[in-house]
Symmetry: C2
Subunit: 317 residues, 2 copies
């Protein structure tokens, strides 16, 4: 497949990495927008110039963000922050792409988790397609594998899908420390955000599992409100000690089946594939004819997630 012209909405870690890596994958960047500006050039932007300007001034360009949607792009990359409920403004960006018969690739979980049926309805009315590998498990090729196997040949998807929560549980087990202590350490290291609620309450893992459930159900209509979610904030250090005496540990496990979504702390054997350590993620797929697949890798990070975005761009028809 020859190179595509990309319009990249969102200039956080993922958006910036897509800008940086696009040329390596043979694509041109014709627009980049952050929340208050845009750089647009239908002949192709210079990535280094845009990124340097963003670094220096905080803005990617001089025009209004909306200008990016008017660029001559083939693929819209939606990498603005995940929002819940109506999933705006991300949903509107994807809608604009599809209504003009162009493709959309999402790193933003909101539209896929909260408005999946709306998204698919827009796609059915469009020449464009929607892909969103980057929304689940960062660099891990989970959605493409489900697509290749066929969703009807996967009976369940489960795994560790939040690196921050996994880092905290791994450290608690390894060092015998309490949740609050390890969380503070993770915040110092930049692994946990100043407000870690989304990660430690299980919301982020739940959004990913809702997306998996929607994909497995093919015409899924799950949203966050349908998920049973419990975070790790009430896991005492003593629970990890007790688990260790029994050769087990605790992980925040999310599971999606065609029956729905559950996320919560679970006991797993210490050397089980699910017991990944640190910020790594893992996804297990139970298949109808080929047993269980385990896929593990980096579940977050700018270049890692951008790699998933660019793999999707390569898979577009």
């Amino acid at each position: 497949m020859s190179g595509r012209r990309l319009a990249i909405l969102g200039a956080g870690a993922v958006g910036r990495s897509v800008v940086e890596l696009a040329a390596e994958y043979g694509h041109d960047v014709v627009a980049v927008a952050d929340s208050h500006s845009a750089a647009v050039d239908d002949d192709g932007l210079d990535a280094a110039t845009v990124l340097e300007r963003k670094e220096r001034t905080g803005d990617v360009g001089e025009t209004k963000p909306e200008a990016a949607l008017s660029a001559g792009y083939d693929v819209l990359v939606e990498a603005t922050p995940t929002t819940l409920g109506d999933a705006e403004p991300g949903f509107g960006h994807v809608k604009a792409a599809l209504e003009s018969d162009r493709h959309a690739v999402l790193a933003n979980k909101g539209p896929v988790a909260e408005r999946y049926a709306d998204l698919r309805a827009l796609e059915r009315g469009s020449e464009g397609r929607v892909l969103f590998e980057a929304t689940v498990g960062g660099a891990i090729p989970v959605l493409s594998t489900i697509d290749d196997y066929g969703p009807s040949h996967i009976t369940a998807a489960r795994g560790v899908l939040n690196g921050t929560a996994n880092f905290v549980l791994s450290r608690m087990a390894a060092e015998g420390l309490d949740y609050e202590h390890v969380l503070a350490e993770a915040q110092d290291l930049g692994v946990a955000e100043a407000d870690p609620t989304f990660d430690v309450e299980g919301t982020d893992a739940a959004l990913k599992c809702v997306i998996l459930a929607n994909v497995l159900a093919e015409e899924g209509t799950y949203s966050l409100a349908d998920a049973e979610v419990e975070g790790i904030t009430n896991v005492p250090g003593s629970a990890l000690d007790l688990a260790a005496e029994d050769g087990r540990t605790v992980r925040l496990i999310g599971e999606a089946t065609t029956d729905g979504v559950r996320v919560g702390p679970r006991l797993v054997p210490q050397h089980d594939p699910l017991a990944v350590t640190g910020t790594r993620n893992i996804v297990q797929l139970d298949t109808t004819n080929a047993g269980r697949l385990n896929i593990s890798g980096r579940g977050a990070g700018g270049p890692e997630t951008a790699t998933a975005v660019l793999s999707d761009v390569g898979r577009l028809p």
Copy 2:
């Protein structure tokens, strides 16, 4: 993608499983051949009838095997036994498909490991495409992942790619038994063949690594003769005991990079992702921008390998 008409060459475990599962994936089977007969019907064969006849009489049909190549198929599935050197008759079957502008999907490692450049040259002159996920790691989606990432973004592929050798090493380590003893046990269980040379000498793992090296080099011209191969027949039980004292174990590890192919017994940490147990396989991909991916699953078996074949059929343009 709508259903395809498949001609399936080879009626061993993999070929028979493709016949059995094709309808579940929406495809028709128009021809099946074993080494001395064929069943052909351009309106579609009944899978149960063909398989029952094969079971009862040893033959899939009443016509000559060559008749399968004249069927009205869209995709030729090459599942005859792997042969080395000129890789015939498998190579000739794939050639016939491509020269008539039809697709070929291989489970047979021979043509991809021994005649990769010839295969790609035929493909360039054809409207048909060649895919071969089933040749490496059974159900594990390794080649599709490399394809999605782009071969130039993978710096190395390594792993445990032979279930028989891994079963033997796992049992030697777990039970403190010698190679000969465990091999005999594996033969009784049907895990090892009566002549296990191909598996225990490392040849099978080397063929898979040669295929990986060819894919990573894009225009690769590696063949088995280029691989450095050492099997497990000289691994003493005492080596596994010594390794265990140090928290390690021994696995038959194959590695492919753009520099070539090496296969041999290696020390790995006991709980390393590479230390899969029993007949499971694992592939590690080192990527340029997204760290390391681990993908593990069933590396052999009829339905497992057929799943890889049918995933390839689904990926065809």
